[in-house]
């Protein structure tokens, strides 16, 4: 469903992505792992339309996303859960979720989707009137995911959802990501947490210095001795 072809991108003169290609099939969970500064966040920003690619193409279900205004990328079915959660701190939990259903297509189904999101995150429903800034880190992560789901995306892009969370919370979050996937949303997960990230996925890519250096079935990558040596510290 998502096809990224030969994408290059960067900031000013500093190039961060060097001709990167990847794909996500319908209903799949794909994980991208890689060290700090490998270009993971740039990749998320480019696919989510927050940053323009220098060259290459990004296609979602036969629709060209490259060059679209950011708000149009969202309307065409990509939702981003940004790194560091970035909920709207001065808004209530409900208002945050409503912001997710901002664009017209999603708004028609607002009540239905709201029920669905509260079903996955009962904790959010309990705290609906609370200001998002007063939530715990784990709850904010749930809210960021819930907010993205409110736009009824075909593809959910998660940037480091485990960042700074306690292991037990990370486990909950990853279980929820799996549940969301089972209801039909394709998922592209960008993670530093290599083992958990790959265990969740069917396929994986290894990103280093702006290039894909390995790709394959997640299980194969987990078994790969070279990767184990450099990433898992085994």
């Amino acid at each position: 469903m998502l096809e990224v072809r030969d994408v290059t991108a960067g900031y000013g003169k500093a190039q961060a992505l060097w001709g990167l290609s990847l794909e996500v099939a319908e209903g799949e969970i794909v994980t991208i792992v890689g060290p700090n500064g490998a270009g993971k966040s740039t990749l998320v920003n480019v696919i989510g339309g927050l940053q323009a690619a220098w060259s290459g193409s990004i296609v979602l279900d036969d629709q060209e996303l490259t060059g679209l205004a950011t708000h149009r990328v969202c309307a065409s079915g990509v939702a981003v859960v940004p790194e560091g959660r970035r909920v709207f701190p001065e808004m209530s939990v409900t208002d945050n979720l409503d912001m997710g259903a901002y664009h017209r297509e999603a708004r028609q189904y607002r009540d239905e989707t709201y029920e669905y999101v509260c079903g996955i995150f009962p904790r959010l429903a309990e705290r609906s009137e609370q200001l998002a800034g007063s939530l715990s880190g784990g709850e904010q992560q749930m809210l960021a995911i819930g907010r993205a789901m409110m736009s009824r995306p075909k593809l959910l892009l998660l940037d480091e959802p485990s960042l700074g969370l306690a292991p037990v919370i990370v486990e909950t979050i990853f279980d929820i990501i799996r549940d969301i996937n089972q209801t039909g949303t394709s998922i592209l997960l960008v993670e530093q947490n290599v083992v958990e990230g790959l265990e969740l996925a069917s396929r994986g890519y290894v990103l280093e210095e702006g290039r894909i250096v390995r790709e394959g079935a997640a299980a194969d990558l987990l078994d790969d001795e070279e990767l184990q040596a450099s990433y898992f510290g085994m």
Partner: protein, 398 residues
């Protein structure tokens, strides 16, 4: 239209109609004409502060350029009505449009930038007032440096005597502006602006057309700033560059909105009421003799000092402005207000009504000062569940 906005519209309409007949009652009730002019000034500040806040307060893009848009309004009346003989009510809408065009032009340039948009916007709005003032000063078709007298302007006489007419014009513009501010706040546009305020990149990712929203809001905001300025020109009666483009307008709209609260349309109204009544009384208070005449404090000269101190205290003590607290503690504030007025009446029986009002409102502000956490500890109810019981160990998450 949903039920809430229908109720709001009805309340606005009703309030506006009641106020409309205040000038009619002036004769029969016998209150001084001064109150009509005082009422006009208050309505003027409602319009100015609301127009500023509906963009800056909602979106978080700080504008120091209110004086420029107000000035475009004032000078449109000056040029069209005083120099070319247009009737005032024909010049007013043109003033709004010219001001909005200036705003949209600025926005079109700045809002296209990717980086440092907010900072550049603040600087550009700061500069635009100087540029507009300079153009007005050098162009003899506008001002030419000599000022413009407006005593020959064709006024809408059907609105009554001069004070009644000013009051009613001020009322129309204030009602339109405040209604626009309230409508934006509760619309998708307002929603989008608040999300831009909180995190623009994320808002964009969620499908908020940020450029379009900022342009719309800034256009509407500057339109009303110009309208209000155009009417105010007649009140000033002799307009000069120094007066019109002084720091007063941008400074006061900021102080009023910060004091009242910037995330709600009622904020600027609360702020404008407090600041305007307070400065009005201070201006008229004259000198205060202390220590048997050895030290004389001129209260009217201390005006700006007091406003400045108030801004500092409010920013530190009431970060979100008074309105959110007023909404939560309205009965306590009302009680304090009534107590203050009664106390003032007993203390100095011949105190003017506005001074009594000031004493009352200061008492109400005092009640609102203690932070919410302290208040919820005092009250018997247990506080809101603000602290999650399951806070995981997340030292790294900051």
């Amino acid at each position: 239209m949903n039920r809430r906005s229908a109720i709001r519209l009805a309340a606005f309409g009703f309030g506006a109609i009641v106020l409309w007949f205040v000038p009619t009652l002036q004769g029969p009730m016998g209150f001084p004409i001064f109150y009509l002019l005082f009422g006009y000034s208050l309505l003027f500040w409602f319009a100015q502060a609301s127009s500023w806040n509906m963009f800056t307060g909602y979106s978080g893009y700080f504008s120091f350029g209110q004086g420029a848009f107000f000035g475009v309004g004032v000078y449109t009346t000056g040029v069209l009505a005083a120099k070319r003989g247009w009737p005032l009510i024909a010049a007013v809408p043109v003033a709004g449009i010219l001001s909005a065009l200036l705003g949209l032009g600025l926005g079109f340039v700045v809002f296209r930038l990717r980086k440092l948009q907010g900072e550049i916007f603040a600087l550009v709005t700061l500069a635009v007032a100087f540029v507009v003032a300079a153009i007005a000063r050098v162009s003899s078709k506008i001002d030419g440096g000599s000022g413009i007298a407006l005593n020959e302007v064709k006024l809408p006489d059907f609105l009554g005597s001069f004070p009644s007419m000013m009051f009613r014009l001020g009322l129309i513009i204030a009602v339109l502006t405040v209604f626009a501010a309230a409508t934006i706040q509760h619309s998708r546009l307002g929603w989008g602006l608040f999300s831009i305020n909180d995190d623009e990149a994320v808002a964009e990712g969620l499908g908020v057309p940020t450029f379009r929203h900022k342009m719309m809001a800034f256009g509407i905001s500057t339109f009303f700033a110009g309208l209000s300025g155009a009417v105010h020109a007649v009140q000033i009666s002799y307009i000069t560059i120094e007066d019109v483009f002084s720091i007063r307008i941008p400074l006061f709209v900021i102080v009023m909105s910060v004091l009242g609260g910037m995330r709600h349309w009622m904020g600027p109204i609360v702020g404008a009421t407090i600041i305007h009544t307070l400065t009005d009384r201070l201006n008229r208070a004259g000198d205060l003799d202390l220590f048997g005449g050895n030290l004389t404090l001129s209260l009217s000269h201390l005006n700006d000092v007091i406003i400045g101190l108030l801004l500092i205290v409010m920013v530190l003590a009431v970060k979100d402005g008074l309105w959110p607290r007023l909404a939560r503690r309205r009965w306590a504030a009302l009680a304090a207000f009534v107590l203050g007025v009664v106390a003032a009446r007993i203390w100095i029986p011949d105190m003017s009504p506005i001074a009594k009002f000031v004493v009352g409102e200061l008492a109400a502000v005092l009640v609102l000062l203690p932070p919410p956490a302290l208040v919820s500890r005092w009250s018997s109810r247990s506080g809101p569940p603000n602290t999650p019981a399951d806070q995981p160990p997340e030292a790294a998450s900051v």
